[in-house]
Structures are given as C-alpha cells and as structure tokens.
Amino acid sequence: MTFFEIAFYFFSAVLVIAATMVVTIRNPVKSALFLVLAFFSAACVWITLEAEFLAIVLVLVYVGAVMVLFLFVVMMLDIDLAEMRAGFTRYLPIGGIIAALLVAEIALVMHQSFLPADYLNPTPQGVEYSNTRELGEQIYTHYVYAFEIAAFILLVAIIAAIALTMRRRPNNKYINPGEQVKVKREDRLRIVKMPSDKPIDLSPVESPSSNEETS
C-alpha cells in the first residue's frame, strides 16, 4: 500500500465514523462538532483524489464559516433531543422509504456514469497540473451561463432572507455612529470651577455653629 492509499482509507474511515456519530450522539453540540470532523475528513479524502481546490473550499466555507455560525446557534439553544426523538418509531416507515429512494437514485446515477465497460479509470495527473485553473476555465467558459444563473439565484435568496427577517424594532437602541463621531467636548462636558476648600474665616463670630472651638 502506498502512502496515499493509507491516507485515503484512514480518512474515509474517520469520515464514516464521524458521520455516524452526527446522527447517533445525544448532545447537539457534540453532534455539530462531529459534523465538522466529517467535513474535514471529506476534504482530506478529496485531496487524495486530486481535487484540492474543492477540498480547500470545503474547509474554508463549511468548516470555517457555516459550521461556526451553526455552532453559535446550537450552543445557545436548549435542545432536548429526547423530545425530538419521541416520534422516531412513528416516522420510521416513511423515513425509511425516503432513504431507500435516495439510495436507489444515487445508485442509478452511479451505475449509469461509472460502471459501463468503456469507462476508464482517470489517470493521475502530474505535479504541475493545476486543478484550480482547470476548474476556473471550465466554469467561466463552458458553463458561464449556468454559473451566472446559480449566482443570481443565490443573490435572490440572500435578499429574500434579509427581507424576511428585517422588520421595524421600535425598542431597538439604535446607535448613529456619525453622531457619535461628531460630538464635541462642549456637548458632553461641563467644567465647573470651584475652590478646592473654603477660606477660613478668621474674624470672631457669634453664631452658635462655631462653638466647637470653645471646648
């Protein structure tokens, strides 16, 4: 076994175990962390398959940004997994049917494109082969319209998400940074000049308040 093969099987095993843990473990935060591990080992598997651009982007986008936000939310929610699992047996038949359908679909597609006798195993590329450049050329020349349409759909989705959550919050203590910057010292600060202590009155006084001197 070469070094690459050992790495491939090691990370594949980690990926399968982590993915199983995601759905079986009871704690939602640990489940999210196992999902991170699954993404990471999937990226490692992709690197052994010479898809380094996809692997790095998987880590950058999913591990570096999406899962951080996901953890952020999961950590603050008090999710009771026992309650969520209550209907497990009730939904098992319909869930099982959907799972079986998905597996069948994937198997059909795989069978169509990878199993025919004329399908050749891809030959490993040399060191100077640039996966990133190849991918960029494909996306921006052959598939540029599909790519632009996908980008546009994403943009629409972002705008829709913002429009759905944006509402007037009258109780929000909104800060106007422009106003804060424009504040001058005179607006906030008033200097009151007063003597640090009162001058002692040395002249004799008859008032009863000064009788402590006599004792």
Binding site: M1, T2, F3, I6, V29, K30, L33, V36, E52, F53, I56, V57, V59, L60, V63, G64, A65, V68, L69, L71, F72, M75, M76, S130, N131, T132, R133, I175, P177
Partner: protein
Amino acid sequence: MHDFYLSLTQWLPESLQTVVWIMIKIVSIVLPLMICVAYFTFAERKVIGYMQTRVGPNRVGPKGWLQPIADALKLMMKEIIIPTKSNKFLFLIAPILSLTPALAAWAVMPFSDTLVLADIDASLLYVLALTSMGVYGVIVAGWASNSKYAFLGAMRSAAQIVAYEIAMGFALVGVLMVAGSLNLTTIVQHQAGGFWQWYFLPLFPLFLVYFISGVAETNRAPFDVAEGESEIVAGFHVEYSGMAFAVFFLAEYANMILIAALTVLMFLGGWLPPVDMAPFTWIPPIMWFGLKTSAVAFFFLWFRATFPRYRYDQIMRLGWKVLIPVTLVWIAVIGLAKFYTPVGFIFS
C-alpha cells in the same frame, strides 16, 4: 542533503522513509518557529515596557533573556485544573485545536525562492482555510469550560471571526487578481524589481483591510473582546491553567507571526530586497523575509500599547460596514482598470 538522508536510512521501507523525511522537514520548521514564538512574548513585554517607560523583564538571565524559558518551565510545572461538569475531552483538545492550524499553515510558506516545504498550487487558499479553523479552539474551549465568562468570550470570538474572515478573503481576492496566481511563491516573484513593485502600493486599501482583519482574527488588542480582561475576566481561557493555558498563549503568538509573514509575502515583497542593488542584495533572502516579518509583527505590539479596546458594536460595524465595502469597491476598481483603462499596467 536528501541523498545523504537516503543513504542513512536504506534499511527502512520506502513509504516509511518518505514519512520520516517529511517529519524531519516539519521539525526543522516548527522548532525555530517555537523559539521565535517564545522570544516574541519576551519582545512584547520589553517593547510595551519601554513604551510605558518601564524596563520590562530584566531579572532572569543576562538582561532578562532567559525569561521565556523560565515562563515555559513554570507553566509546565503547574497543575492543569479541570472544572467540574466540564467536558474533559473537549476541554483538553481545545488548546490543540487552536495551535495546530497556526503551525500547519507554515507548511506552504516560502522562505525564499527555493526554500518551501510544500510548494502546492493553491497555497493561498490553503492558508486562508487553515487560519479560518483556528476559531474552533476558542469556541470549543468556551463551551467545554462550563463557565459563563468563557462562553461569552467564545460567542464574541465566533461572531467577530466570521465578520473579519469575509473582509480578509476579499482582500486576498484582490491579490490573486493582480498576481494571477494562488501560489505564494509566484505571488512574491510577481513583485520583483524593487519596493515600488510590491503590492502594497496598488492594493493599499486591501493591504490595510488585510492587516486590520489579521489583528482582529488573532484576537489581539484593540480587538481582544474574546479575552476582554476588564469585561469578562479572561474570556474563553478563564478556566485554563498550566500547560493548557500555555498552548493557547503559544497559538496566539504563532498566529500573529503567521499573519505578519503572510502580510509580508502578499503585500511587501516577501524575501525580495527593497531595491535590487548591491548593498541590499548582499543580505540573503531569508534574512529579508525575517526582517520584514519582524517589522510587521512589531505593529501588533505597538497597537496593543496604543489603542484602547473597541466596543463590541464598533467591531461589528467596522467589519461589516467599513472593511467589506472597501474591499468590494477596490476589487471592482482593479477589474475595471485592468481591462478597460490605459492605467491597467499598475495592476499587473
């Protein structure tokens, strides 16, 4: 060098030979890096000391030069206290999660034209992906500690890093548009010819954005709300002691050196001398790289001694409403100028 190694290890099987050779290369990068990190902590205490008209540590060894070693020994001797009801495994793995990406990113760092461990094609993306993973150490530490202060620190850090990650990524998009490559060695080679060829001039806004985001990404002052001593005690590492704390400490300083080195590679010409002439070319390239990195790293210390901590909403505003629009505008400027105007040559 490699032939000599092969003659020494003929008795090993071939795959194991490769693994051991890679290990030797890793150690020869990480060991000097760790020494740099140790003396960077010393430099910080000295520099901030002089900036505040103090002397800084000067008792251990000649002029205090053994201070980092004394600190390391002290932290190693101390007990690691694990809080009750914390998640022990995650609690102990969190410091490792924050140190590993900071060290692993050095695998693709070119120290000179030829001196690089792994000259991979997408090294810029690789570095960006790894630096974005450092936040897991902070988040996991904050959650596993079972402490409110640690948890607050983790939440702050997560929100802050997601915001600044985007600005950082866009700043790098500008660099790769100008260089036309994702490979750090090629990016530096494109800047050859003198300091007026370095990318900090045509990409000045992106240079500033990248460095500011870098300071925020490393949780350093003035963006150190994740620790915020005066607000949430010590933030995410409030429950850590001994070596577990020391590893967090190492990760922070290793990350600072990493960001400084990346800034030098992408904007300040890497190992290239400022003027391609006799007195400057006498200094070897790796020395130039070290000098520039130290100069940029000095700014981290200078910032800490100068600026008060940002308020949390100000950090969010700066990240989302100032830095990201600046990068977006400058990317459009680069693209338009490069292909539609006669001044496109400054961006190529």
